[in-house]
Amino acid sequence: MNIIETKKLTKYYGKSLGISEIDLEIKEGEIFGFIGPNGAGKSTTIRTLLGLVYPTSGSATIFGKDIIEFGPEIKEDIGYLPSEVFYYDGMRVIDLLKYSGSFYKKDQAVILKKIKELAEYLDLDLKKKIDDLSYGNKKKVGIIQGLLHEPKLIILDEPTGGLDPLMQQRFFDLLREENKKGVTILFSSHILSEVQKLCDRVAIIKDGKIVKIDNIKDLAKDTHKRFKLEFKGEIDRKQVTELIGVSDLAFDDNNASFLLKGNINEAIKLIAGFELTNLLVEEPDLEEIFMHYYVADKK
Protein backbone atom coordinates (compact mmCIF):
# COMPACT_ATOMS: atom_id res chain seq x y z
CA MET A 1 0.00 0.00 0.00
CA ASN A 2 1.13 3.52 -0.64
CA ILE A 3 1.29 5.52 2.54
CA ILE A 4 1.73 8.80 0.70
CA GLU A 5 0.60 9.32 -2.83
CA THR A 6 0.56 12.64 -4.66
CA LYS A 7 -0.86 13.32 -8.09
CA LYS A 8 0.35 16.36 -9.97
CA LEU A 9 0.51 18.25 -6.70
CA THR A 10 1.04 21.93 -7.49
CA LYS A 11 1.29 24.95 -5.26
CA TYR A 12 1.68 28.58 -6.22
CA TYR A 13 2.18 31.31 -3.64
CA GLY A 14 0.39 34.07 -5.48
CA LYS A 15 2.30 34.03 -8.73
CA SER A 16 5.54 32.53 -7.50
CA LEU A 17 5.90 28.80 -7.87
CA GLY A 18 6.24 26.58 -4.83
CA ILE A 19 5.99 23.13 -6.38
CA SER A 20 4.84 21.89 -9.74
CA GLU A 21 3.16 18.60 -10.59
CA ILE A 22 4.81 16.52 -7.93
CA ASP A 23 4.11 12.80 -8.28
CA LEU A 24 5.23 10.70 -5.37
CA GLU A 25 4.44 7.22 -4.16
CA ILE A 26 5.81 6.31 -0.79
CA LYS A 27 5.27 2.73 0.25
CA GLU A 28 4.50 1.36 3.66
CA GLY A 29 7.55 0.66 5.77
CA GLU A 30 10.10 2.50 3.71
CA ILE A 31 12.36 5.35 4.60
CA PHE A 32 11.97 7.84 1.83
CA GLY A 33 14.50 10.61 1.33
CA PHE A 34 13.64 13.91 -0.13
CA ILE A 35 16.64 15.94 -1.23
CA GLY A 36 17.20 19.26 -2.83
CA PRO A 37 18.88 22.55 -2.05
CA ASN A 38 17.20 25.29 -0.03
CA GLY A 39 14.16 26.69 -1.74
CA ALA A 40 13.67 23.73 -4.07
CA GLY A 41 10.21 22.99 -2.68
CA LYS A 42 10.81 20.36 0.00
CA SER A 43 9.10 22.27 2.77
CA THR A 44 6.25 23.34 0.52
CA THR A 45 5.56 19.71 -0.36
CA ILE A 46 5.60 18.68 3.27
CA ARG A 47 3.47 21.62 4.39
CA THR A 48 0.95 20.77 1.71
CA LEU A 49 0.83 17.15 2.85
CA LEU A 50 0.21 18.34 6.41
CA GLY A 51 -2.55 20.72 5.38
CA LEU A 52 -0.66 23.82 6.46
CA VAL A 53 -0.90 25.19 2.95
CA TYR A 54 -3.49 24.23 0.38
CA PRO A 55 -2.59 22.91 -3.08
CA THR A 56 -3.35 25.08 -6.09
CA SER A 57 -4.07 21.98 -8.12
CA GLY A 58 -3.51 18.25 -8.00
CA SER A 59 -4.24 16.02 -5.04
CA ALA A 60 -2.60 13.86 -2.45
CA THR A 61 -3.57 11.04 -0.15
CA ILE A 62 -2.04 9.75 3.05
CA PHE A 63 -3.05 6.28 4.28
CA GLY A 64 -5.29 6.27 1.19
CA LYS A 65 -7.29 9.25 2.45
CA ASP A 66 -7.47 12.68 0.89
CA ILE A 67 -5.25 15.12 2.78
CA ILE A 68 -7.74 17.96 2.80
CA GLU A 69 -10.95 16.11 3.43
CA PHE A 70 -9.53 13.86 6.14
CA GLY A 71 -6.79 16.17 7.42
CA PRO A 72 -7.43 15.84 11.15
CA GLU A 73 -8.10 12.10 10.97
CA ILE A 74 -4.89 11.45 9.06
CA LYS A 75 -2.80 13.44 11.50
CA GLU A 76 -3.79 11.10 14.30
CA ASP A 77 -1.09 8.82 12.92
CA ILE A 78 1.49 11.33 11.70
CA GLY A 79 4.46 12.56 13.65
CA TYR A 80 5.98 15.78 12.38
CA LEU A 81 9.29 17.34 13.25
CA PRO A 82 9.87 20.76 11.73
CA SER A 83 13.27 22.19 10.89
CA GLU A 84 12.96 24.97 13.40
CA VAL A 85 11.25 24.47 16.71
CA PHE A 86 9.51 27.36 18.39
CA TYR A 87 7.42 26.42 21.34
CA TYR A 88 5.18 28.17 23.77
CA ASP A 89 6.95 30.46 26.16
CA GLY A 90 6.82 29.88 29.84
CA MET A 91 5.99 26.19 29.63
CA ARG A 92 8.01 23.38 31.09
CA VAL A 93 9.10 20.59 28.78
CA ILE A 94 6.74 18.11 30.38
CA ASP A 95 3.78 20.53 30.16
CA LEU A 96 4.36 21.04 26.48
CA LEU A 97 4.72 17.34 25.79
CA LYS A 98 1.58 16.52 27.77
CA TYR A 99 -0.22 19.26 25.89
CA SER A 100 1.06 17.79 22.67
CA GLY A 101 -0.10 14.33 23.71
CA SER A 102 -3.54 15.57 24.70
CA PHE A 103 -4.47 16.01 21.05
CA TYR A 104 -4.32 12.30 20.33
CA LYS A 105 -6.96 9.71 21.07
CA LYS A 106 -4.38 7.30 22.44
CA ASP A 107 -4.37 6.49 26.16
CA GLN A 108 -2.60 9.39 27.86
CA ALA A 109 -0.84 7.10 30.33
CA VAL A 110 0.74 5.23 27.42
CA ILE A 111 1.83 8.51 25.90
CA LEU A 112 3.34 9.66 29.18
CA LYS A 113 5.28 6.43 29.43
CA LYS A 114 6.56 6.93 25.90
CA ILE A 115 7.56 10.52 26.72
CA LYS A 116 9.61 9.36 29.67
CA GLU A 117 11.24 6.62 27.66
CA LEU A 118 12.20 8.96 24.88
CA ALA A 119 13.43 11.64 27.27
CA GLU A 120 15.66 9.17 28.99
CA TYR A 121 16.96 7.85 25.69
CA LEU A 122 17.72 11.35 24.41
CA ASP A 123 18.99 12.55 27.77
CA LEU A 124 16.53 15.41 28.20
CA ASP A 125 15.44 16.95 31.50
CA LEU A 126 11.63 17.14 31.46
CA LYS A 127 11.36 19.57 34.34
CA LYS A 128 13.21 22.44 32.71
CA LYS A 129 11.53 25.43 31.17
CA ILE A 130 11.62 25.42 27.41
CA ASP A 131 12.91 28.99 27.33
CA ASP A 132 16.03 27.90 29.19
CA LEU A 133 16.93 25.07 26.82
CA SER A 134 19.74 25.21 24.30
CA TYR A 135 18.97 24.91 20.62
CA GLY A 136 19.94 21.26 20.53
CA ASN A 137 17.80 20.45 23.54
CA LYS A 138 14.82 22.26 22.03
CA LYS A 139 15.35 20.02 19.04
CA LYS A 140 15.06 17.02 21.31
CA VAL A 141 11.73 18.33 22.59
CA GLY A 142 10.70 18.51 18.95
CA ILE A 143 11.74 14.91 18.35
CA ILE A 144 9.82 13.60 21.36
CA GLN A 145 6.84 15.73 20.43
CA GLY A 146 6.82 14.06 17.01
CA LEU A 147 7.15 10.51 18.28
CA LEU A 148 5.22 10.37 21.53
CA HIS A 149 2.00 9.10 19.99
CA GLU A 150 3.70 6.26 18.13
CA PRO A 151 2.76 7.47 14.67
CA LYS A 152 2.58 5.25 11.60
CA LEU A 153 4.16 7.92 9.46
CA ILE A 154 6.94 10.21 10.52
CA ILE A 155 7.63 13.35 8.51
CA LEU A 156 10.92 15.09 9.14
CA ASP A 157 11.83 18.43 7.64
CA GLU A 158 15.59 18.93 7.91
CA PRO A 159 15.59 17.58 11.43
CA THR A 160 19.23 17.21 12.36
CA GLY A 161 20.48 20.81 12.58
CA GLY A 162 21.66 21.59 16.08
CA LEU A 163 22.19 17.99 17.16
CA ASP A 164 25.70 16.88 17.98
CA PRO A 165 26.99 13.81 16.14
CA LEU A 166 26.32 11.51 19.08
CA MET A 167 22.73 12.69 19.39
CA GLN A 168 22.29 12.52 15.65
CA GLN A 169 23.37 8.90 15.78
CA ARG A 170 20.92 8.15 18.58
CA PHE A 171 18.22 9.92 16.67
CA PHE A 172 18.88 7.87 13.55
CA ASP A 173 18.91 4.68 15.61
CA LEU A 174 15.58 5.72 17.01
CA LEU A 175 14.18 6.24 13.53
CA ARG A 176 15.51 2.87 12.36
CA GLU A 177 13.96 1.24 15.40
CA GLU A 178 10.60 2.79 14.57
CA ASN A 179 11.04 1.79 10.96
CA LYS A 180 11.58 -1.83 11.96
CA LYS A 181 8.19 -1.74 13.63
CA GLY A 182 6.72 -0.86 10.26
CA VAL A 183 6.68 2.91 10.52
CA THR A 184 7.06 4.80 7.26
CA ILE A 185 9.40 7.78 7.25
CA LEU A 186 9.61 10.76 4.95
CA PHE A 187 12.93 12.44 5.50
CA SER A 188 13.67 15.75 3.88
CA SER A 189 17.17 17.15 3.87
CA HIS A 190 19.76 19.01 1.92
CA ILE A 191 22.54 17.06 3.59
CA LEU A 192 23.04 14.09 1.32
CA SER A 193 25.22 11.99 3.54
CA GLU A 194 22.49 11.62 6.14
CA VAL A 195 19.95 10.71 3.52
CA GLN A 196 22.42 8.16 2.18
CA LYS A 197 22.87 6.75 5.66
CA LEU A 198 19.20 6.33 6.38
CA CYS A 199 17.01 6.11 3.33
CA ASP A 200 15.85 3.31 1.06
CA ARG A 201 14.59 5.43 -1.79
CA VAL A 202 15.17 9.02 -2.61
CA ALA A 203 13.54 11.76 -4.65
CA ILE A 204 15.58 14.66 -5.91
CA ILE A 205 13.69 17.90 -6.17
CA LYS A 206 14.77 21.00 -7.99
CA ASP A 207 12.98 24.27 -8.72
CA GLY A 208 9.71 22.76 -7.54
CA LYS A 209 9.93 19.68 -9.76
CA ILE A 210 10.95 16.10 -9.08
CA VAL A 211 14.09 15.42 -11.11
CA LYS A 212 14.52 11.79 -10.24
CA ILE A 213 13.19 9.11 -7.96
CA ASP A 214 15.37 6.11 -7.43
CA ASN A 215 16.52 3.43 -5.11
CA ILE A 216 19.40 4.86 -3.23
CA LYS A 217 21.59 1.93 -4.22
CA ASP A 218 20.61 2.16 -7.85
CA LEU A 219 21.17 5.84 -7.78
CA ALA A 220 24.64 5.36 -6.43
CA LYS A 221 25.36 2.50 -8.79
CA ASP A 222 24.01 3.71 -12.05
CA THR A 223 27.39 2.31 -13.14
CA HIS A 224 29.15 5.49 -12.18
CA LYS A 225 32.60 5.00 -10.73
CA ARG A 226 34.96 7.56 -9.40
CA PHE A 227 38.53 6.97 -10.59
CA LYS A 228 41.51 8.63 -8.93
CA LEU A 229 44.85 8.09 -10.57
CA GLU A 230 48.26 9.15 -9.33
CA PHE A 231 50.86 9.10 -12.09
CA LYS A 232 54.53 8.39 -11.59
CA GLY A 233 55.55 10.69 -14.39
CA GLU A 234 53.90 12.96 -16.91
CA ILE A 235 50.17 12.39 -17.44
CA ASP A 236 49.07 11.38 -20.84
CA ARG A 237 46.18 13.79 -20.83
CA LYS A 238 45.07 13.12 -24.33
CA GLN A 239 44.49 9.45 -23.78
CA VAL A 240 42.55 9.96 -20.57
CA THR A 241 40.39 12.61 -22.13
CA GLU A 242 39.47 10.40 -25.06
CA LEU A 243 38.16 7.62 -22.86
CA ILE A 244 34.48 6.95 -23.48
CA GLY A 245 32.06 7.85 -20.70
CA VAL A 246 34.33 10.16 -18.76
CA SER A 247 32.97 13.19 -17.04
CA ASP A 248 33.97 15.57 -14.30
CA LEU A 249 37.59 15.23 -15.34
CA ALA A 250 40.23 17.05 -13.33
CA PHE A 251 44.00 17.16 -13.50
CA ASP A 252 46.24 18.32 -10.74
CA ASP A 253 50.02 17.85 -10.85
CA ASN A 254 50.43 14.10 -11.11
CA ASN A 255 46.85 13.33 -10.33
CA ALA A 256 43.88 12.69 -12.55
CA SER A 257 40.33 12.22 -11.34
CA PHE A 258 37.18 11.46 -13.27
CA LEU A 259 33.74 9.93 -13.14
CA LEU A 260 33.21 7.00 -15.45
CA LYS A 261 29.88 5.82 -16.72
CA GLY A 262 29.43 2.56 -18.61
CA ASN A 263 31.85 -0.25 -19.31
CA ILE A 264 34.88 -0.17 -17.07
CA ASN A 265 36.86 -2.71 -19.04
CA GLU A 266 38.04 -0.17 -21.60
CA ALA A 267 39.26 2.06 -18.84
CA ILE A 268 41.06 -0.73 -17.01
CA LYS A 269 42.84 -1.72 -20.19
CA LEU A 270 43.94 1.82 -20.79
CA ILE A 271 45.01 2.35 -17.21
CA ALA A 272 47.06 -0.85 -17.35
CA GLY A 273 49.36 0.95 -19.75
CA PHE A 274 50.11 3.83 -17.36
CA GLU A 275 52.91 4.08 -14.82
CA LEU A 276 50.97 4.74 -11.64
CA THR A 277 51.91 5.18 -7.99
CA ASN A 278 48.34 4.82 -6.83
CA LEU A 279 44.88 3.96 -8.09
CA LEU A 280 41.51 4.37 -6.40
CA VAL A 281 38.20 3.22 -7.78
CA GLU A 282 35.30 4.32 -5.63
CA GLU A 283 31.52 4.36 -5.50
CA PRO A 284 30.68 7.95 -6.09
CA ASP A 285 28.84 9.40 -3.12
CA LEU A 286 25.38 10.80 -3.40
CA GLU A 287 26.78 14.27 -3.33
CA GLU A 288 28.50 13.73 -6.63
CA ILE A 289 25.48 12.18 -8.26
CA PHE A 290 23.38 14.95 -6.93
CA MET A 291 25.70 17.54 -8.40
CA HIS A 292 25.67 15.56 -11.59
CA TYR A 293 21.91 16.01 -11.89
CA TYR A 294 22.10 19.63 -11.13
CA VAL A 295 25.05 20.41 -13.36
CA ALA A 296 23.67 18.31 -16.18
CA ASP A 297 20.47 20.22 -15.99
CA LYS A 298 22.20 23.54 -16.14
CA LYS A 299 23.89 22.64 -19.38
Binding site: Y13, S43, T44, R47, L50, G51, L52, V53, Y54, G71, P72, E73, I74, K75, E76, I78, Y80, P82, S83, E84, F86, Y87, Y88, D89, Y99, S100, S102, F103, Y104, K105, Q145
Partner: protein
Amino acid sequence: MNIFLREIKAYRSSTLIWILSLCTLVTVFLFMYPAFTRDVDATRAIMANLPAAMRDALDISLANFFTIYGFFAYIFTFATLAGAVQAMNLGVGIMSKEDSGKTVDFLLTKPISRFKVFTSKLFASFGLILITNTVFSLTSYIVAGIVSTDGLDIQIFSLILASFFLIQLFFLALGILFSMLIKKIKSPVAVTLPTVFGFFIIGMLGSIVGNDNVRYICPFKFYDLNYVIDKGLYEINYLYIELVVVFIAVIASYLIYSRKDIRAAS
Protein backbone atom coordinates in the same frame (compact mmCIF):
# COMPACT_ATOMS: atom_id res chain seq x y z
CA MET B 1 -10.95 21.08 25.33
CA ASN B 2 -7.16 21.11 25.58
CA ILE B 3 -6.71 24.22 23.45
CA PHE B 4 -9.53 25.93 25.31
CA LEU B 5 -7.95 25.19 28.68
CA ARG B 6 -4.50 26.09 27.43
CA GLU B 7 -5.72 29.51 26.26
CA ILE B 8 -7.61 30.16 29.48
CA LYS B 9 -4.42 29.39 31.34
CA ALA B 10 -2.29 31.52 29.07
CA TYR B 11 -4.51 34.55 29.62
CA ARG B 12 -5.27 33.84 33.26
CA SER B 13 -3.01 36.41 34.84
CA SER B 14 -3.59 39.21 32.35
CA THR B 15 -7.36 38.77 32.67
CA LEU B 16 -7.02 38.83 36.42
CA ILE B 17 -5.13 42.13 36.22
CA TRP B 18 -7.81 43.59 33.96
CA ILE B 19 -10.58 42.47 36.31
CA LEU B 20 -8.79 43.90 39.33
CA SER B 21 -8.16 47.23 37.60
CA LEU B 22 -11.75 47.56 36.40
CA CYS B 23 -13.19 46.67 39.79
CA THR B 24 -10.85 49.07 41.57
CA LEU B 25 -11.82 51.78 39.14
CA VAL B 26 -15.56 51.51 39.75
CA THR B 27 -15.23 50.86 43.46
CA VAL B 28 -13.07 53.92 44.15
CA PHE B 29 -15.30 56.00 41.94
CA LEU B 30 -18.59 54.86 43.44
CA PHE B 31 -17.36 55.64 46.93
CA MET B 32 -17.18 59.25 45.82
CA TYR B 33 -20.92 59.25 45.27
CA PRO B 34 -21.91 60.55 48.72
CA ALA B 35 -19.69 63.58 48.15
CA PHE B 36 -21.32 64.05 44.77
CA THR B 37 -24.83 64.08 46.26
CA ARG B 38 -23.71 67.02 48.42
CA ASP B 39 -22.50 68.81 45.27
CA VAL B 40 -25.87 68.13 43.72
CA ASP B 41 -27.57 69.82 46.64
CA ALA B 42 -25.29 72.83 46.20
CA THR B 43 -26.21 72.93 42.54
CA ARG B 44 -29.89 72.88 43.31
CA ALA B 45 -29.33 75.81 45.66
CA ILE B 46 -27.75 77.80 42.83
CA MET B 47 -30.54 76.85 40.51
CA ALA B 48 -33.16 77.96 43.00
CA ASN B 49 -32.15 81.56 42.28
CA LEU B 50 -32.95 81.18 38.60
CA PRO B 51 -36.10 82.28 36.84
CA ALA B 52 -38.61 79.44 37.01
CA ALA B 53 -38.69 78.67 33.27
CA MET B 54 -34.93 78.33 33.03
CA ARG B 55 -34.75 76.30 36.21
CA ASP B 56 -37.32 73.81 34.96
CA ALA B 57 -35.52 73.39 31.65
CA LEU B 58 -32.22 72.79 33.40
CA ASP B 59 -33.80 70.48 35.91
CA ILE B 60 -35.03 68.23 33.17
CA SER B 61 -31.72 68.06 31.36
CA LEU B 62 -29.83 67.53 34.59
CA ALA B 63 -32.23 65.06 36.16
CA ASN B 64 -30.52 61.96 34.83
CA PHE B 65 -27.10 63.16 35.81
CA PHE B 66 -28.08 63.59 39.41
CA THR B 67 -29.01 59.93 39.89
CA ILE B 68 -26.53 57.24 40.82
CA TYR B 69 -26.90 55.92 37.28
CA GLY B 70 -25.83 59.20 35.79
CA PHE B 71 -22.91 59.35 38.17
CA PHE B 72 -21.96 55.78 37.40
CA ALA B 73 -22.32 56.37 33.67
CA TYR B 74 -19.55 58.98 33.84
CA ILE B 75 -16.84 56.56 34.93
CA PHE B 76 -18.52 53.75 33.05
CA THR B 77 -17.56 55.47 29.79
CA PHE B 78 -13.91 55.04 30.66
CA ALA B 79 -14.42 51.57 32.03
CA THR B 80 -15.84 50.57 28.64
CA LEU B 81 -12.84 52.18 26.96
CA ALA B 82 -10.56 50.00 29.05
CA GLY B 83 -12.84 47.01 28.53
CA ALA B 84 -12.73 47.53 24.77
CA VAL B 85 -8.94 47.58 24.86
CA GLN B 86 -8.93 44.37 26.86
CA ALA B 87 -11.37 42.61 24.55
CA MET B 88 -9.77 43.68 21.31
CA ASN B 89 -6.29 42.92 22.56
CA LEU B 90 -7.50 39.49 23.52
CA GLY B 91 -9.12 38.95 20.12
CA VAL B 92 -6.07 40.09 18.19
CA GLY B 93 -3.64 38.26 20.46
CA ILE B 94 -5.34 34.90 20.83
CA MET B 95 -5.58 34.38 17.08
CA SER B 96 -2.29 35.91 15.98
CA LYS B 97 0.02 34.61 18.68
CA GLU B 98 0.49 31.21 17.06
CA ASP B 99 1.73 33.04 14.00
CA SER B 100 4.09 35.38 15.77
CA GLY B 101 5.24 32.71 18.22
CA LYS B 102 5.67 30.33 15.30
CA THR B 103 3.80 27.65 17.20
CA VAL B 104 1.23 27.34 14.46
CA ASP B 105 3.05 24.35 12.95
CA PHE B 106 2.86 22.62 16.28
CA LEU B 107 -0.87 23.09 16.56
CA LEU B 108 -2.00 22.43 13.02
CA THR B 109 -0.02 19.23 12.55
CA LYS B 110 -2.04 17.68 15.36
CA PRO B 111 -5.12 15.63 14.53
CA ILE B 112 -7.60 18.48 14.88
CA SER B 113 -9.44 20.50 12.30
CA ARG B 114 -8.88 24.20 11.87
CA PHE B 115 -12.52 24.64 12.73
CA LYS B 116 -11.86 23.17 16.13
CA VAL B 117 -8.75 25.30 16.72
CA PHE B 118 -10.74 28.38 15.77
CA THR B 119 -13.78 27.57 17.88
CA SER B 120 -11.65 26.57 20.88
CA LYS B 121 -9.93 29.93 20.78
CA LEU B 122 -13.20 31.72 20.14
CA PHE B 123 -14.84 30.10 23.14
CA ALA B 124 -11.79 30.65 25.32
CA SER B 125 -11.76 34.38 24.58
CA PHE B 126 -15.52 34.56 24.99
CA GLY B 127 -15.21 32.74 28.30
CA LEU B 128 -12.57 35.17 29.53
CA ILE B 129 -14.79 38.11 28.60
CA LEU B 130 -17.70 36.45 30.35
CA ILE B 131 -15.69 35.98 33.53
CA THR B 132 -14.53 39.60 33.39
CA ASN B 133 -18.12 40.77 33.07
CA THR B 134 -19.45 38.56 35.82
CA VAL B 135 -16.94 39.80 38.36
CA PHE B 136 -17.16 43.38 37.17
CA SER B 137 -20.97 43.37 37.30
CA LEU B 138 -21.14 41.76 40.74
CA THR B 139 -18.67 44.28 42.13
CA SER B 140 -20.63 47.16 40.61
CA TYR B 141 -23.95 45.88 41.99
CA ILE B 142 -22.55 45.44 45.46
CA VAL B 143 -20.71 48.75 45.69
CA ALA B 144 -23.52 50.72 44.05
CA GLY B 145 -25.96 49.04 46.44
CA ILE B 146 -23.85 50.18 49.37
CA VAL B 147 -23.45 53.84 48.35
CA SER B 148 -26.88 54.41 46.85
CA THR B 149 -29.20 56.12 49.29
CA ASP B 150 -32.42 55.35 47.49
CA GLY B 151 -32.04 51.82 46.27
CA LEU B 152 -31.05 50.51 42.89
CA ASP B 153 -33.25 49.87 39.87
CA ILE B 154 -32.01 46.44 38.87
CA GLN B 155 -33.26 46.70 35.31
CA ILE B 156 -31.60 50.02 34.55
CA PHE B 157 -28.39 49.09 36.29
CA SER B 158 -28.28 45.68 34.61
CA LEU B 159 -28.79 47.22 31.20
CA ILE B 160 -25.94 49.65 31.84
CA LEU B 161 -23.65 46.81 32.87
CA ALA B 162 -24.78 44.61 30.00
CA SER B 163 -23.69 47.31 27.57
CA PHE B 164 -20.15 46.77 28.87
CA PHE B 165 -20.44 43.16 27.81
CA LEU B 166 -21.89 44.05 24.42
CA ILE B 167 -19.13 46.55 23.69
CA GLN B 168 -16.50 44.03 24.71
CA LEU B 169 -18.15 41.48 22.45
CA PHE B 170 -17.99 43.89 19.54
CA PHE B 171 -14.31 44.60 20.01
CA LEU B 172 -13.47 40.97 20.59
CA ALA B 173 -15.01 40.11 17.23
CA LEU B 174 -13.31 43.07 15.59
CA GLY B 175 -9.97 42.00 17.08
CA ILE B 176 -10.36 38.48 15.74
CA LEU B 177 -11.21 39.82 12.31
CA PHE B 178 -8.22 42.20 12.34
CA SER B 179 -5.87 39.40 13.31
CA MET B 180 -6.99 37.60 10.17
CA LEU B 181 -6.76 40.60 7.89
CA ILE B 182 -3.41 42.00 9.00
CA LYS B 183 -0.38 39.90 8.21
CA LYS B 184 2.38 39.39 10.73
CA ILE B 185 1.10 41.19 13.77
CA LYS B 186 4.12 41.60 15.97
CA SER B 187 2.49 43.51 18.77
CA PRO B 188 -1.26 43.29 19.41
CA VAL B 189 -1.37 46.60 21.36
CA ALA B 190 -0.12 48.47 18.33
CA VAL B 191 -3.20 47.27 16.44
CA THR B 192 -5.64 47.56 19.31
CA LEU B 193 -4.94 51.00 20.74
CA PRO B 194 -5.28 53.14 17.61
CA THR B 195 -8.48 51.30 16.66
CA VAL B 196 -10.20 51.44 20.04
CA PHE B 197 -9.11 55.01 20.81
CA GLY B 198 -10.07 56.10 17.33
CA PHE B 199 -13.62 54.80 17.80
CA PHE B 200 -13.74 56.27 21.28
CA ILE B 201 -12.74 59.74 20.12
CA ILE B 202 -15.16 59.69 17.21
CA GLY B 203 -17.89 58.84 19.67
CA MET B 204 -16.87 61.52 22.17
CA LEU B 205 -16.71 64.25 19.56
CA GLY B 206 -20.01 63.10 18.16
CA SER B 207 -21.71 63.33 21.51
CA ILE B 208 -20.23 66.73 22.35
CA VAL B 209 -21.88 68.26 19.32
CA GLY B 210 -24.88 65.93 19.44
CA ASN B 211 -24.31 64.38 16.07
CA ASP B 212 -26.47 61.27 15.83
CA ASN B 213 -25.09 59.82 12.60
CA VAL B 214 -21.87 58.96 14.40
CA ARG B 215 -23.78 56.49 16.50
CA TYR B 216 -24.19 54.05 13.65
CA ILE B 217 -20.45 53.55 13.25
CA CYS B 218 -19.30 53.90 16.83
CA PRO B 219 -19.89 50.91 19.11
CA PHE B 220 -19.26 53.08 22.15
CA LYS B 221 -22.43 54.96 21.24
CA PHE B 222 -24.65 51.99 20.40
CA TYR B 223 -26.09 51.92 23.88
CA ASP B 224 -27.02 55.43 24.93
CA LEU B 225 -27.00 55.41 28.70
CA ASN B 226 -29.23 58.49 28.89
CA TYR B 227 -31.87 56.59 27.00
CA VAL B 228 -31.39 53.56 29.22
CA ILE B 229 -31.73 55.66 32.39
CA ASP B 230 -34.87 57.34 31.00
CA LYS B 231 -36.67 54.38 29.49
CA GLY B 232 -35.06 51.31 31.01
CA LEU B 233 -34.50 49.95 27.49
CA TYR B 234 -31.93 49.78 24.70
CA GLU B 235 -32.59 51.29 21.31
CA ILE B 236 -33.06 47.96 19.66
CA ASN B 237 -31.75 48.94 16.21
CA TYR B 238 -28.25 49.35 17.52
CA LEU B 239 -28.36 45.97 19.16
CA TYR B 240 -29.22 44.50 15.78
CA ILE B 241 -26.36 46.36 14.14
CA GLU B 242 -23.96 44.97 16.69
CA LEU B 243 -25.20 41.42 16.35
CA VAL B 244 -24.91 41.57 12.57
CA VAL B 245 -21.39 43.02 12.73
CA VAL B 246 -20.23 40.44 15.28
CA PHE B 247 -21.78 37.61 13.30
CA ILE B 248 -20.19 38.70 10.04
CA ALA B 249 -16.81 39.31 11.65
CA VAL B 250 -16.71 35.85 13.20
CA ILE B 251 -17.87 34.05 10.07
CA ALA B 252 -15.46 35.99 7.86
CA SER B 253 -12.60 35.29 10.26
CA TYR B 254 -13.34 31.61 10.24
CA LEU B 255 -13.50 31.50 6.45
CA ILE B 256 -10.15 33.27 6.19
CA TYR B 257 -8.62 31.06 8.85
CA SER B 258 -9.78 27.83 7.26
CA ARG B 259 -8.36 28.75 3.88
CA LYS B 260 -5.13 30.45 4.71
CA ASP B 261 -1.70 29.05 3.91
CA ILE B 262 0.61 28.68 6.86
CA ARG B 263 4.01 29.30 5.36
CA ALA B 264 7.27 28.12 6.78
CA ALA B 265 8.72 30.18 9.61
CA SER B 266 11.09 32.78 8.30
